[in-house]
Each structure stands twice: as structure tokens, then as C-alpha cells.
Symmetry: C2
Subunit: 434 residues, 2 copies
């Protein structure tokens, strides 16, 4: 049986998970691909820390370049994360004719198309199942399973931290800050949670999904992003009353008329009849709509060492199988030409909106707000008005019918300036047909 030698760069939490998974399921993997996998070397800046894994310490080095230069190593697993030096490592590996398996969404969302091109030029594969949705095989679904479809949209919950926070706010009726602190205590949120709660992580993943789904070079900088930090328990309550659940969604749609792609990340009111509304806790769920297959959803654990190892090893197996058979890897089929993208700006978005505002609680106020909305071509779908006891103020919740983002923003600015309105109205987007 052929032995395929692997190099691992990045021996943190996820790297440790991969080593453990390889130890645990090595025999089964061997049987399935008809080749033996040997982890020959591991590189990490920290060669001292004891990892909770069974490995030969002599294979650990601080010198990633030594691994990249080892002609015996045919597959590199990159788990360094971040842009540099990860990008340089990956490019070097590809140029040296090695297959690369990565979980690095930031790198792919910024340089994916460039790196995939380098890989193609060197007749090797840059595989990335672990970069989106952890253990959910969403990349293979887009590349292989749904590949006969013209995809119209892909959207979903791809950040477990945010979903944990929103689920807990809803179930425990707690404030954002309280739940965030609890999530940090449980290890579901980082000490610095910015990257997750501001939506940046979701934006990286959404850019990758959009690139594959529509075969356009969509990058992180192309994604409109809003995080979840401004959501209050009342929003969750009102949403529930109106039949919605609030989720942080990454949304990518391709207009079949002109091929333009909209890519956005923001907290979204999802109708409770959608399966996405029932994706709870740290789980991820990704919906796709294809012209033949219609709606599909892929659900599972979106993070953690073991689910990520599941995805990483599925890629390693694909590469190893191809090497053993003396052929090229067939798992990354969708070619994306660098620079080729056709985007739709957020101002042109058409969707429904949720508006929460505080206004004077007296006759005529609501009529005035309705007039402003009407003047901007926005019609009201449903409304809740609650007097705040004895304050002379009322909280007003409006869900609009489909409107234009540009008009909505103009209307909100105008409403904020009304002498009868207090605070700037808070706006969330609503997806009626998910």
C-alpha cells in the first residue's frame, strides 16, 4: 500500500484535533482510500507547549520552510490561520507541487481566486472544506452534489458564536452583554469576540460561498457587513410576536437576469416556517437554492477541533487518493477567474425591513411616520405600538413590505429628524422567503 507523506503547519487547537483524528481513524481511512497516510512533520512557532495528542515530538519544528522544502511531503495541511504568513506558506507549497488543505477562511476570502489559480497552474489542488461550516460538507455540495444546477442563492448561519448568543438571548430573555460574557466563560466566544460578533467571520465565509456558488471572484471587501451587537432583547421579543426569529445570516444571491451578485451579512428576521429559524446554539445551517433542486439545507457543527478535523481529513483523503492513483484531484471543480465579479451595491437591495422606534404617544404621530414611509415608496406590512407607561412615549415596531434599501435609509433619516421621534430608529432586514 502506498504511503503518502503529509506536513502540518500550525499545531494549535485545530491542528491537535487533526492529529488526534488521524490517530483514531487512521486504519479506517487507510481502508477507504487504499493508501497509508503518514504525518511526517509538524511546524509551529511554539515547539515547547505540550499538546493533548499522541505524536512523536521529534517531528515538531519551528521552521515551516523546512517542511515546504521537503520533497517527500506531498500534502500540506495549513492551520496557521490569518493572512500572513499563511498565504506565503500556501503559495510556496503549491508552487512546489504539493496539494494544500486549509481551513483558513480569511486567507481564501482575501486571496482565494489567486491561490486557486496558482494551484491550477501547478496541477495541484487547494482544498478548503473546513473553511466554511466546520464539519458540514458544504463545499463538496457546491462543487459536486449540486453541480448540475445554476445556483440562485446561498445563505445561512455560519458563525456558531453569534448563533449561540442569539439563541440564548431568545431562550433565556437575557441581554447581549450578559450572554456574551457567559459564552466567553463557556469557551464559545473568544476573549476578544470582535471578529465573530461584528460579522467579519461570517463575511469571510459568505465570500467563499458566493465565489463558489456563482463562480465569481467575490472577496471579503465586497461583502456588506453588520454585526449583532446592537440587538436588544425587545427586538427578539417583537420578532417572535410577529412570527420571526433573529439570526445572523450571510446572504449571497445572484440575479438570474443580469448575473449581478449581492453579498451581505447582517442580523435578519427569519420566518419561523423556515428551517433556519430552528438552527440553534452553536450549530450552523446553510441553505442553497438551485434552479433544478430548489431549496436544500446543510446543517451541523460549524467549529471545534473534531468537526474541523472531519473536514480537513476528507480533503486530505481526496488528495491522497488522487496521488495514489497517479491522477489529479477532482474535488475542486469550479474555476474562479481572479478579478471576475459583477456586484450589486447594497443601495439596490430590495427586501423587507423591521423598524423599531420611539415616538411621542399622541394622535397624528403614527400618521406622520406612515406618510414619510409612503413618500419613499415603502408600505407597512404589520405594526405593533406599545405605550411606555406614563412616559408619554410609545415604542413602535413596523415590518414593511419589500422596499429599496436606498429609500428605506432615506426614510429613516427623515423619521429620525421628526420632532416627535426620539433616538435613531433601529432597523433590521427581513427575509420573507428563506
Amino acid at each position: 500500500m502506498k504511503e503518502i507523506k503529509i506536513g502540518l503547519i500550525g499545531f494549535g487547537n485545530i491542528g491537535t484535533g487533526v492529529v488526534n483524528a488521524l490517530n483514531r481513524n487512521g486504519e479506517l481511512i487507510e481502508k477507504r482510500i487504499g493508501a497509508k497516510l503518514l504525518l511526517k512533520r509538524i511546524a509551529d512557532v511554539d515547539t515547547k507547549r505540550k499538546r493533548n495528542a499522541d505524536y512523536d515530538p521529534s517531528i515538531l519544528t519551528a521552521d515551516a520552510d523546512a517542511i515546504l522544502a521537503d520533497p517527500e511531503i506531498q500534502i500540506i495541511i495549513e492551520l496557521v490561520g490569518g493572512l500572513e504568513p499563511a498565504r506565503t506558506f500556501v503559495e510556496k507549497a503549491l508552487r512546489a507541487g504539493k496539494h494544500v488543505v486549509t481551513a483558513n477562511k480569511a486567507m481564501l476570502a482575501n486571496f482565494g481566486a489567486d491561490l486557486w489559480q496558482v494551484a491550477a497552474q501547478h496541477n495541484v489542488a487547494l482544498l478548503f472544506e473546513a473553511s466554511v461550516g466546520g464539519g458540514i460538507p458544504i463545499i463538496r455540495a457546491l462543487e459536486l452534489g449540486l453541480t448540475a444546477n445554476r445556483l440562485l442563492s446561498v445563505y445561512g448561519i455560519v458563525n456558531g458564536t453569534c448563533n449561540y448568543i442569539l439563541t440564548n438571548m431568545a431562550e433565556e430573555h437575557k441581554a447581549f452583554d450578559t450572554v456574551l460574557a457567559e459564552a466567553q466563560a463557556h469557551g464559545y466566544a473568544e476573549p476578544d469576540p470582535t471578529f465573530d460578533i461584528e460579522g467579519y467571520d461570517t463575511a469571510h465565509k459568505t465570500a467563499i460561498l458566493a465565489s463558489l456558488a456563482f463562480q465569481q471572484d467575490v472577496r471579503y471587501a465586497d461583502v456588506y457587513v453588520e454585526g449583532i451587537t446592537r440587538i436588544k432583547p425587545v427586538d427578539i421579543e417583537y420578532a417572535r410576536e410577529l412570527g420571526y426569529t433573529i439570526k445572523l445570516l450571510g446572504i449571497a444571491k445572484c440575479d438570474p437576469r443580469d448575473g449581478r451578485v449581492e453579498v451581505r451579512v447582517h442580523p435578519t428576521l427569519v420566518g419561523n416556517s423556515s428551517l433556519l429559524a430552528h438552527v440553534s446554539g452553536v450549530y450552523n445551517g446553510i441553505m442553497t437554492v438551485g434552479d433544478l433542486v430548489g431549496r436544500s439545507m446543510f446543517y451541523g457543527r460549524g467549529a471545534g477541533p473534531e468537526p474541523t478535523a472531519s473536514a480537513v481529513l476528507s480533503d486530505v483523503m481526496a488528495a491522497a487518493e488522487a496521488i495514489a492513483a497517479g491522477r489529479s484531484v477532482s474535488e475542486h471543480r469550479l474555476r474562479i477567474e481572479p478579478g471576475q465579479r459583477h456586484l450589486k451595491p447594497i443601495e439596490e437591495l430590495e427586501t423587507a425591513y423591521y423598524i423599531r422606534l420611539v415616538a411621542e404617544d399622541r394622535p397624528g404621530v403614527m400618521a406622520k411616520i406612515g406618510t414619510v414611509l409612503g413618500e419613499h415608496d415603502i408600505s407597512i406590512g404589520s405594526m405593533i405600538q406599545r405605550g411606555r407607561h406614563d412616559s408619554g412615549r410609545a415604542e413602535i415596531i413596523i415590518v414593511t413590505h419589500t422596499a429599496r434599501e436606498k429609500n428605506l435609509q432615506a426614510a429613516i433619516t427623515e423619521i429620525a429628524k421628526l420632532p416627535t421621534t426620539f433616538e435613531k430608529p433601529f432597523v433590521l432586514r427581513v427575509e420573507e422567503e428563506l
Copy 2:
């Protein structure tokens, strides 16, 4: 660009869907696989009926053997369905060195391992993404996406007709017969619905899922099957009251201690916290549990010409891509040796149970039932007792803790014989941890 010639056998509803899909997305498919697909010939016993598709009538023949003997044709799509002559066609095609793509779950659930072996011997592929879950790429998930995992279970809703009926019974509070008649009127159920409502279709699909998940030769005859015809609206109501939804599930589990596989199809009470409880209408949802990845779910349209065409064409593309590259097909990786299976009989099942019975409404009756259950090592988890007004009878609903099937059946037989019990108690199985 290389042109790959295809033969289609079976030109019914699904065949027509495939032809239409190929016409619609041919250009996109061509770009994705770098090869041109040409549907060279179609065989069907009915060459007269006008199909709602754009095709050259001169390629249609009643002689399937002519297509199987055509050396130019490298891929056969088998959409005849049923056991024979489909099985013979497929075997001939494989022996002639052609790749075969099929949606035929009955054939695979009866002869799959034999046919996959024939395919391997002739260095061709027998692909079957369309056989389970329609357009849901569940086969690729098992073969490729989750392939680094030792799978522990796979279970789900794989029959849209049953799910439509159960969903409508629950939502509209209607009886089984009423909803079945409506489903037939809408075309969601066949004129003879036996195959669906008795669970046979689900059993075929579950056998295929079990075979792949555990790499054992699990066949249709190995599956324990109960259909949905005896479910009454009261069961659905009581289940709801207790926090469950009733779904027809195909369930396959592999005991990690001894490798024994249980495969069963029956209506099941699913806790509402499970995503499966929210898979409604004609949609399918398949859960998997892997040792690394944990729980995943795959959701989508499980039937219909377009979703099925989506799956069929994904397989055709895989085969065509391999032909164009002069390599073998890598999509069917999991080898299943004919005859190799290690089954766990239904009597040894351990699960929770829902019991509905009618008994005399007087003191001591419930105690007697509890005693019988206790004597068979069955403890009660929750209970509802409702007096039927003025009849002197009470309806009693019991949900047990985990018990042994054998004990449960013995207890039920004994309870049915009690002078205070009317009718044979009705039993459903409960899955607490889905």
C-alpha cells in the same frame, strides 16, 4: 472539447426531467466539466407518447439492448425503476464497460452490493446519488464529505408522500384517509399508495444508507418495517402535548461495541428540539452522526423530476469528467462486500415507547398497568389519562423510558389481555436523542 455520449433507458416523468435539465443547463455543465454531453439514444417501451421535452424523436427506440450494445455510448442512465428488467440492463451495461447512473432504490436495496462488485470488476462506476433523498447530495456526503468519520447512525425522513400526509394531519387536524385522498388529488401520492404509506420505499432507501454508512451489505429484506396507516389524529395531538412530532423515519445505527447494525422503518415520536421535527411537507431530511463531526443534517426536495435530475446529472458529470480525463470515477469510494453484514434483530432494540390504550375508568386500573410494565422492566416517563365522558372508559397515554423491544411486546400482550383493557394498545417508538 471531448464529447461524451450518453444513453437513457426509461423515458417517463423522471427521464423527461433529465432531458429538460440537460437542455437547460447543458452549457453550464459543459463549462464545469470541460466535456460536452450528448444524449445519443433513449429507450422506452412506449415510443408513441408525446413527452413534454425538446428531443429528436429519431433517437427514441423501444430496444434497450440496442443502446447497451452501442460502443459509442459510455454512460447509461437507468430510469426504468423496479427490479427487472432494470437489473439486467444495468448489469449488461457494466459488463460492457459503461458507467451507469441510476435512481433505482429498489434495485440497489436488493442487488446493490452485487452490482457494485460487477462495476468494480469492470473498472466502471455505478452511481446512485438520485436513489435516496432526491436532489439532496446525501450519497456524496457519506462517500466523500463525512468519509473521515466512523459513522454511528443515519436516520431521517426520506419519503415525501408520508411526510406530506403526517404534516397535513398535524396542521389541519384531519384523519389519515382524508389527507391521503387529498395527497392523491395533488399528485403527492400514487393512485396505489401502498409502497409509500407502508414504509417500503423508506425501507429501500434506509437499506442503501445503512450499506454506505457502515460498509455492510444491508438489504431491503433486513429492514424492519412499519407504515403510517394506523396513526390517528389523537396520536398526533397527544404527541404534540408531550413535546413530540410524529415522523416516518428510516433509522440505521451501528453499535460501536460489536459492529452490529439495526435497520428499521417506523413512525417515530421525534422531540421538537430536533431539527427533524421541523422538516415539513414533501421535504426530506437525513441526519447523520459521525464520531468526529457529530450530528449533521441534509435537507431538501426528495422527489420530483427536477430534483432527481439534479442528482442524476451530478453523477453523469462525475462519470463524464473521469472519461474525459482518462481516469476512473472517484465518487463511489466505499466498498461493500456482498454478503457481509452483522445485524441486530428488532427484538433487541432498546428505545422509548409511546403507548395509547383504552381502559376502564376506575381506581386500580392504572396501577395494574403500571405493575405489568414494571414486571417487564419498563418504567414510565410521562403519562396522560383522559376520561371519555360518560363512557366509563379512559384513554391512557404512556411514554416509557428506554426499554427493550422484547419486553415491551410481552408487556403489551399481557396488558391487552387484562379484563379492564379495551382494544389492543397502540404502540409507537420514541427517539429521544435525535
